[in-house]
């Protein structure tokens, strides 16, 4: 994200090398997990045909108004890790005359993604009072498991949370 700041005025705080390096490292740490989650969000939108890396980055840039930018080369190690952890599967297919590697979520990946999104949403909601920001979770559409924060659609006919097994029957329908 920091790379978006292309210019700054002379004497600005960011000119200081120590501050610049601190901000860069802070943003990079904060973005690490968010990048993975965002990549998964884009991949889960393409359950049938899958999505290849370049297309994923394009969608990510468009969806986040170029605020969340994953450095292009670093996306692929993230995708490799997701594949190694069996959250996504990949397949080489021809597209536009070139073979490309398409990624799709696995069943395990889909389930874990819901949990990760749930956790992230609840975390954001929880820290809002600290930061003077406002976040409203779509609690009419989803139940957030009180035990593990898994995000479960309200219309889903499930009695137990598929991540932690908590009985969620009767929770705000």
């Amino acid at each position: 994200m920091f790379r978006n700041i292309k210019t700054y005025r002379e004497g600005a705080l960011i000119e200081d090398e120590q501050i610049k390096s601190y901000v860069e490292s802070f943003e990079s740490e904060l973005l690490r997990g968010i990048s993975t989650l965002s990549a998964l969000s884009i991949i889960q939108r393409h359950p049938d045909e899958g999505i290849y890396g370049y297309q994923l980055l394009k969608e990510l840039e468009q969806e986040t108004g170029r605020t969340l930018i994953i450095e292009e080369g670093t996306l692929y190690p993230i995708l490799r890790k997701l594949e190694r952890d069996e959250l996504v599967v990949s397949e080489r297919k021809d597209s536009g005359g070139r073979p490309r590697k398409y990624y799709k979520l696995t069943t395990k990946g889909t389930e874990l993604y819901q949990h990760m999104v749930g956790f992230f949403s609840k975390l954001l909601e929880a820290i809002t009072p600290l930061m003077d920001i406002e976040i409203k979770l779509p609690e009419k559409k989803f139940i957030y498991c009180p035990n593990c924060t898994n995000k479960i659609p309200q219309e889903a006919e499930v009695r137990f949370c598929n991540i932690c097994g908590l009985n969620i029957e009767g929770l705000s329908k």
């Binding site: 370049y54 450095e71 292009e72 080369g73 670093t74 692929y76 190690p77 073979p99």
Partner: protein, 352 residues
Amino acid sequence: MNENNESRILIDAFKVEVKKKLPIWLKAKEDELKDFLDELEDHIWDKSSELAEGVDPQVMHVREAIRLMGNPRKIAKEFRTRGTPKFFVTEELWPWYYRSLIFSGIVSILVTMITMAFKLGKGDPAGAIVGDAFWEMFVGFAFAFAAITLLFVQLSYHGFLPEDFKRMAEEEIKPHAKKPKKKRPKKPKTVLPTSGSYLFEGIVGLVLGGVLIFYPFANINEPFMTNFMVGFPEWLKLVGGVFVIGGIIRFSQALIGKRLRLQQMFLVLHIIPTSLNLALFLRLLFNPNLIQVALQNRFVDANIPLIVKTIVIIGAVLSILGMFGELAKIAKLEVKGFTYTEIKYEKRIDVK
């Protein structure tokens, strides 16, 4: 040089740079490495086409696309972020690290014991031998400590995880995979002999040792012994003492049962009587008068020196193998526990 060639050279140079910076565990997997680098190349071409706005990408577009990929070091670094830092070795590798240290410590003790046995067998002064032994153990362990620490710091830096060792080992096995066979339930293998067999070994050691020390048949053989075998009774008593020590250790192992650390400690302790036995065997080799004169007098035509030499060498080799066997048991206990089933084989025969 045409545009295409120049673009090709730029992309290849970028791939080489990335490859150089990648961690060893990824470089070791050739297929995955190639696939990863190809994917980076696909991305560069896609980006170049976008920058070229519909026409064939030029070198400048490729160059810009490569710049946007980011620094090869940073790309490779993403692979190195695996593992939770703990000092300079990651938390995931920590158990392997200290196990390796313990193992190298035991190996250094074992090698020192064997050296000591040879020196004792030769008849060097005991004080000097023990002093040397401690120094040799210290130097051996210090070198092993430095080498193992360096290795694990490097592996941690490269984001190596324990499952990478496993994966690499499985990849080694794959080409030799056997044809599917009918599944048969496997009986779990035990790393250590049962308590019963340790108890038996313990009793045998104590009884045999007792017999050799107290020598109840001395009155029968006494004239023969005093005439021809000067020093041999003392040698037998020493062998008996070593058997007793070994027996007590085995007996204790039978009582300890499945207490991992204690069993490992007693396995290390058992190396001591085995090395003493080795020393006593070698004593026969370096001091042939102990036994050869007596036997030569009884079996005049036999080549007694050769027979004794052969027996001693076989005994020494078996003792050394026994010591390494104890070492292997300690390592297996650490890795597999007391029992294990050949899971890998079971998994492999499932593949259609």
